[in-house]
């Protein structure tokens, strides 16, 4: 994510122009929102304020409709997940018409970044082979935690709608769990350690159908393969853990086969 490289100065959402103990920090210009770290809502505690600015490219009526619906949906889903024990940030406040939502600050990095640190300078054409999987235990463990988190999410009847490794954060474990041998090794291990917190529910919906769940997994599978091609092979561990956590998983995984087939068939026409 081009987080800190945002080349343009953005106008702040109005809510962040009011006095606060510390100035807001633009953390990310994500897909369609901007993420600020601010103490406006809770002076003692930083929070993440997600702002969906009006999109100039979109018809204003469509834009207003989508922005409002998505902030509302995101808040509703986060709330539900929180109550049901799915690892997500808690909602603090929102103004859907103004396009913002304030939530708990996750003091970590996106999973994508952690995986990339782990893969490090592994040669580009050198995908992880079957024989090597044993050496990849910390990454495999992370894959399992991802599968757990998604399983827990689906169990509550929520479809994320945009599962990628950018839309999950790693909340580091307290020190002591990172008993690395060499320090470089320890650093790498640390990079893929931590609790997986799901974020970015802007496209989430509520559904309990196999089809919707399978498409959610398919989106993740494809995002994973294109973002971390060298670790593509490890994706099966996500599905394995998903099965462990979520009792309806087998029929979802069967559906996933269909969705994959459909995905391939679409390349039929030039």
């Amino acid at each position: 994510m081009a987080a800190h490289a945002a080349p343009v100065e953005f106008a702040l959402p109005q809510v962040l122009t009011y006095p606060a103990p510390t100035p807001p920090i633009l953390v990310a210009q994500g897909a369609e929102g901007r993420l600020y770290k601010t103490t406006y809502i809770t002076p003692s505690l930083p929070c993440a304020l997600k702002y969906r600015s009006p999109k100039q490219y979109r018809h204003p009526i469509l834009d207003a409709r989508l922005t409002k619906a998505r902030i509302q949906a995101e808040a509703k889903v986060l709330d539900r997940c929180c109550r049901e024990g799915v690892p997500v940030p808690a909602v603090y406040a929102l103004d859907a018409t103004a396009g913002w939502l304030a939530m708990e600050w996750v003091d970590g990095v996106p999973v994508r970044q952690g995986i990339n640190v782990w893969l490090g300078d592994r040669p580009e054409d050198d995908a992880i082979s079957d024989a090597e999987v044993a050496d990849e235990t910390p990454l495999v463990d992370l894959m399992k935690r991802i599968g757990d988190a998604v399983g827990a999410l689906h169990r509550t009847g929520v479809i994320h709608g945009d599962l990628t490794t950018s839309n999950m954060m790693l909340l580091p474990w307290a020190d002591g769990q990172s008993n690395g041998a060499s320090s470089e090794d320890g650093e790498k291990k640390k990079a893929v350690g931590g609790d997986v917190i799901l974020i970015d529910f802007g496209l989430a919906t509520q559904s309990v159908t196999d089809e919707d769940r399978a498409v959610d997994l398919y989106v993740l599978e494809r995002a994973f393969a294109s973002t971390h091609p060298r670790a593509e092979r490890l994706f099966t561990h996500v599905l394995e853990a998903y099965k462990q956590t979520f009792k309806k998983a087998p029929s979802v995984i069967r559906k996933l086969e269909d969705v994959r087939m459909r995905g391939r068939k679409k390349s039929m026409l030039g």
């Binding site: 100039q56 294109s226 390349s267 039929m268 026409l269 030039g270």
Partner: protein
Amino acid sequence: MDTTKKKRRIALGCEGSANKLGIGIIAHDPETNEPTVLSNVRHTFVSPPGTGFLPKDTAQHHRAFFVRVAKQALANAGVRPSELDCICYTRGPGMGAPLTSVAVAARTLALLWDKELVGVNHCVGHIEMGRAITGAANPVVLYVSGGNTQVIAYAEQRYRIFGEALDIAVGNCLDRFARTLEISNDPAPGYNIEQLAKKGGRVLLDLPYAVKGMDCSFSGILTRADELAAMMKAGGKGPDGETFTQADLCFSLQETVFAMLVEITERAMAHVGSNQVLIVGGVGCNERLQEMMGAMAAERGGSVYATDERFCIDNGIMIAHAGLLAYETGFKTPLEESTCTQRFRTDEVFVKWRK
């Protein structure tokens, strides 16, 4: 004569994966690798209003016009067959019958003139031609045509598909809606929808907006647009009691589906940390889509790259260019392997010519 001076490399490309038959000739400079378009000839099979093009008729069209188009391409380029380095043809993806008819013709040329054959992925052809024409070095690519809707980014010697339409392609959605309205397919249904949309816009009709991550779907929108068209024809009003015209329908359809495309493209750009976007494929000609994409890219401090109909719409030159890039790395397609395939994913191609 200076014998140390290297010869420019020349390829002829044949495209016929859908209803356009295209033959083009490209040259690559021996020193700079700079491509030069020597000729780019196209002949389109246009079906009557209210109908789509069928594989059998389209293949028949390509067979009937191949020789004429090939001769024209050679004449326009001022190139003799003996000067060619290779014959490139579309291996897929596309419609089986038209693909095969053009592959047979390409094989014939290769045998006749004793040249190497190079089978090319149609989508990779679009991407490479778009990059060459616009100079966009490493953009996120939105590939939008009658058969494909893909958001693509290059990584590790492959064009990786980040997002795509989960059901019908966006161009197919527009084409089928043109059929519903029974508007002309000449020069292209999408073009005529675009012209109609320019006259609409008093109302924005509510169509189901369907984005899932970096994927999207269009069949629900088409169904709803068809329903609204039927209501309009029956002289009725919209769901909120509003009156609307064909033009308003085209406008609403475009605004909705293009917003979806721009959104998934933006998501991919954020994901890979890029601020360049290249639009290729027939729907990429649409100026409203280009305008919307430009506004999005500008907001991200980047820019949009697009080409005009000569390169956006299926053509032979892109096949020649992508084929020649592969040929220069030593790639060729032996005669006995010179088949076609309806399914051929963009990410199956090993992009040896890029780092």
